[in-house]
Symmetry: D2
Subunit: 341 residues, 4 copies
């Protein structure tokens, strides 16, 4: 049930009008008059009430405010599915006791570098290979990724190491070719509300990792997950990667409290990206440990054999020996919270 | 020139390495050793230095920080073009002395309602008709727009009233059909960094109105304009529509200071959208006046004949008589700052 | 009335417990059971319900959420007093048709400079002289103001020009001496929630100008006004001076929409400080005009005869000729919105 | 060294003027002319350059921008003191290998409740007792704390349990009485820039725990620590307690990345307050673990025997059995990162 709060000067005519409107949508009204404020409780399945209908009621004469109680997402909610969703890709499960680590370069640059990084992260215990073939860049003059050539290099690296791969899609027209190569499709932060793209990956059968938008609330994030799920693809992984705040000491502010909040609200697995969250190599390891301690179901970490030659995000990439050390240090942290890595 | 600040412990080897790297990119280095800090001034056209190259330098051994002085956009900058860009659409100029007002419903709902709104806003002095045929909605269960049918209704309304039209594109696959009907293509706030979409509208010859992202800095906004311009389409209009802050009394925080800031940084015209900026009908008129006083080159305002029946954003839409009154009240404000409306 | 939303698993025992708790506080409960959610409407004067009582209810077993409908401030609310509060200081009214302009240096530096600035702003039409004698500075090594000596210079400048003065208080121990000299006491942004200071100025009979905190919501701001008013001093002026956001092109983000929002919520006059809001000289004039167009009841503007020698905030101070020009340009803007300047 | 970037149109006269100004302040200038931009490197001890002097230079003719490289705090910086500061209070060390936990109610309500909570948190392994006697409350109608009576109850609880105590000061006039009772003085988030209060506690010999302001950058926070240290009190503990962002699912956004950032910038110990950071009981335990994993030197946690009867912040207080369980669960997390609890 949702609640409509009326203005003190709402007339009986106003009230009748609102009740009629609710009833025309198959809902019932429960009028409750107080000495100072009168409210209408809305009875029925209000999760079907869309934003614009809510807005229409808010805009009606006599209405002070509308308080939404029922969550505006359904398939993604913990109420819809009590047990955690586990997503298994080539034998690796995301959302289970064991915490998978996705590692690799920000962008795929060439076959040799990627192959070398893949072998190193595999040796250190990574279970997925990450790497961008299509890159969202703030400048039109920046390297935009190798495209399909990059996808082929990723597939080759998977063949050699056995690591399943995850890569980003930016354009609905690329989904088909990306889905041909990748094991998990990533939706980047800037596309979290690219609704057409969400619908398209919702029609794919590949698991989707949905990164949180820079200025997106947890509620909006779950509604974007709902977009994907509404098309039938329930294999959605959420990825916290930092939000935009006034603080400039870090690239973004990694919102680790989103992890336990999501664990209450949704059954979907939650991965944390400390690399983008902080944007500085030295801060990645402590935040990766903190993410595991907070209950994250997975990590995605940038690793590069030669960060200062990396074509993007070199500043935040770990060197292979740093990554190897981090993987070792993560084990007792995972164990301390009843998980494995 | 940009500046590289070195760490106190930077070695001569580090410095040689950085200088070599700059020279390999056609730049020159100017070393300046202080008692406490040593800096390298970078000489040459550093506007061509991309982010990833900047990052690579920042990640290099011995580097404390990189200070970017030269703006990372060029075509959009006031340095590139001193005089204001004026964009003329069917005889109406945006960026000149006269301030055009774009008015209409949030979404096109049906032929009759749109036609009626169009006539009313025309009568009150609006010079463009706005209306969404493809709507970005946070919920997958919400009305997503009429699509091409909506475009046809817009074109019909233009035929009847003579008002040129502006409508939003969300998907690169829709550009062709939208460009067939519309006079100005709008890129919404959520797509400000949908880089593929920007490149595609950059290849179109239609003027583009680029809304500011909810969490986008003015610099990022101009870099998105640069994306469009880099493809040859220099007819870009910027639209401030509010940013996301902690304040919840308004839907967003309308950043009117962006108007004079942009007037310094760029030659592109700047339009303000007070309807989305505040999200509440009663606040639209004062903020529209404030926008004009701050130097805006145009306004875009939501108007609906029956806001409480509107299928989206009813709460922030003006009724026709409110719009008519606002248009009257805007005239002296425009005159007070040497403009016309 | 406020609303308590119960969890789906709330027991009858939970409900009885909550109702008993409300009744023990003199309130009545109105239980409303829906198919999905049950709510309790709280009847009685809930404006007396404090935060901790609200928290206690939220923490009770069976409670999903508490929705506060009644505003948590009373004396400051428009409901308490319908007509605008007008505050008259030495013949100058704040909150009336005529818009007073407070002008002067950020800090009082010495008698000569202050005297010279005072005469110039008076000649241009300013109606108050501003200047800080006690300065809040982020660094302990910065100039902290002249203290009582500065107050004496302000009083001398008032004697010569007839301009009433406004100056800031930072410490409850200084109120007595400041009140001896000043006409209006200013509470700075950083002290908006220095509750002890608010109570103390609430006991003074001097009008108080309360600046908005950098990260304060409009609701919190009004609750700070309520603090002052609760001690009997109803002569409170609110001053919007920019909030902290992610944008770095301006020092703060001047939230002009706060002006019309406050006009709905409160009867208190609203002044705008464009100097601190933007932090850059060239942006002050357009934002001052925008503030007037948005409905501001007053302006406070930094002016310095020699900004580059100013001991603080030189970057945002207007030169006297710039201020003179702005005052001329503001007149038609004020007239356009039915005001005078 | 700091850097002054000149405008393209800066004249030789402008440059001479700036250099003269620097020299008059005992600094030297290093002019570096590029093809596009000219910069002046400032040589000498610029950590003594105050904000207003920086502003004055920024306001000078011909100046594009001033880039501050040298940190504006000194005593608080890691450069000033390489080894970690350890602060020992009644035998308990903050900043060492062992992580102290401060626990207790938000506000001291009465002797019995406080005594009972103190015994319980002691039994679970807490090493400090927290509790507010003077409470900052957003509403003037809320419970403001018991004042000195509350301090006496804290001292009694210390006598019984041996737990040293920490309590907040809000007003310089209360420092003397608070210092008589407490072991650590707390400065709350709202007073982080109450500069007079900072100076006063800087003159005290009691250790001070300085909470981060809701909208304060890490740099500003360290400058507030510098205020305290500049008066001779070097026993400053920093406490991260969440910043204000657009997200409303949590009370604040706990910025755990501040922990490793501070470990680089300063030698002062860093405590985390997950209770205020998230504001919801169920989220406290995961965030406490995450804080320890991120490298926090201490925790401060709200515990109440009967949260729903608590006079403030009941919603975020752990019950004693929840606290006891958390303390047990924290041990392996601390061990995993080489610490003890």
């Amino acid at each position: 049930m949702d609640i409509i709060v009326l203005r003190q000067d709402a007339t009986d005519e106003d009230i009748r009008h609102i009740i009629k409107k609710l009833e025309s949508r198959g809902l019932q009204a429960n009028l409750s008059k107080g000495t100072e404020i009168t409210i209408i409780g809305v009875i029925g399945d209000t999760s079907k009430v869309t934003e614009e209908e809510e807005d229409a009621i808010r805009a009606a004469s006599g209405v002070e405010n509308v308080v939404r109680i029922v969550k505006p997402y359904k398939l993604a909610s913990r109420e819809f599915r009590k047990e955690n969703t586990e997503i298994t890709v080539r034998g690796i499960t995301i959302g289970g006791k064991k915490i998978p680590v996705m590692a690799g370069p920000c962008a795929v640059e060439n076959r040799t570098v990627l192959g070398s990084i893949a072998e190193k992260v595999k040796a250190s215990g990574a279970t997925f290979l990450r790497g961008g073939a299509f890159k969202p860049r703030t400048s039109p003059y920046a390297f935009q990724g190798l495209g399909e050539e990059g996808l082929r290099y990723l597939a080759e690296a998977r063949d050699k190491t056995g690591l399943p791969i995850i890569t980003e899609v930016m354009d609905p027209r690329d989904i088909e070719v990306i889905a041909e190569y990748t094991d998990i499709i990533q939706i980047g932060a800037r596309n979290m509300q690219n609704f057409r793209l969400l619908l398209e990956v919702g029609s794919s059968r590949k698991p989707v990792m949905l990164k949180r938008g820079l200025a997106s609330t947890i509620k909006e994030w779950l509604m974007s997950a709902e977009y994907i799920m509404s098309r039938g693809n329930h294999n959605v992984i959420l990825c916290e990667r930092g939000i935009r705040t006034f603080e400039t000491a870090t690239r973004n502010t990694l919102d680790l409290s989103a992890v336990p909040v999501l664990k209450q609200l949704t059954h979907l697995p939650v991965v944390v990206d400390p690399s983008h969250g902080v944007g500085k190599r030295d801060l990645v390891a402590p935040m990766a440990k903190a993410a595991v301690a907070a209950g994250a179901d997975g990590l995605i970490i940038e690793v590069h054999t030669n960060p200062e030659e990396a074509m993007s995000d070199g500043e935040q990439s770990l060197k292979p020996d740093q990554f190897e050390r981090l993987m070792r240090e993560l084990k007792p942290v995972a164990a301390a919270v009843g998980r494995e890595i």
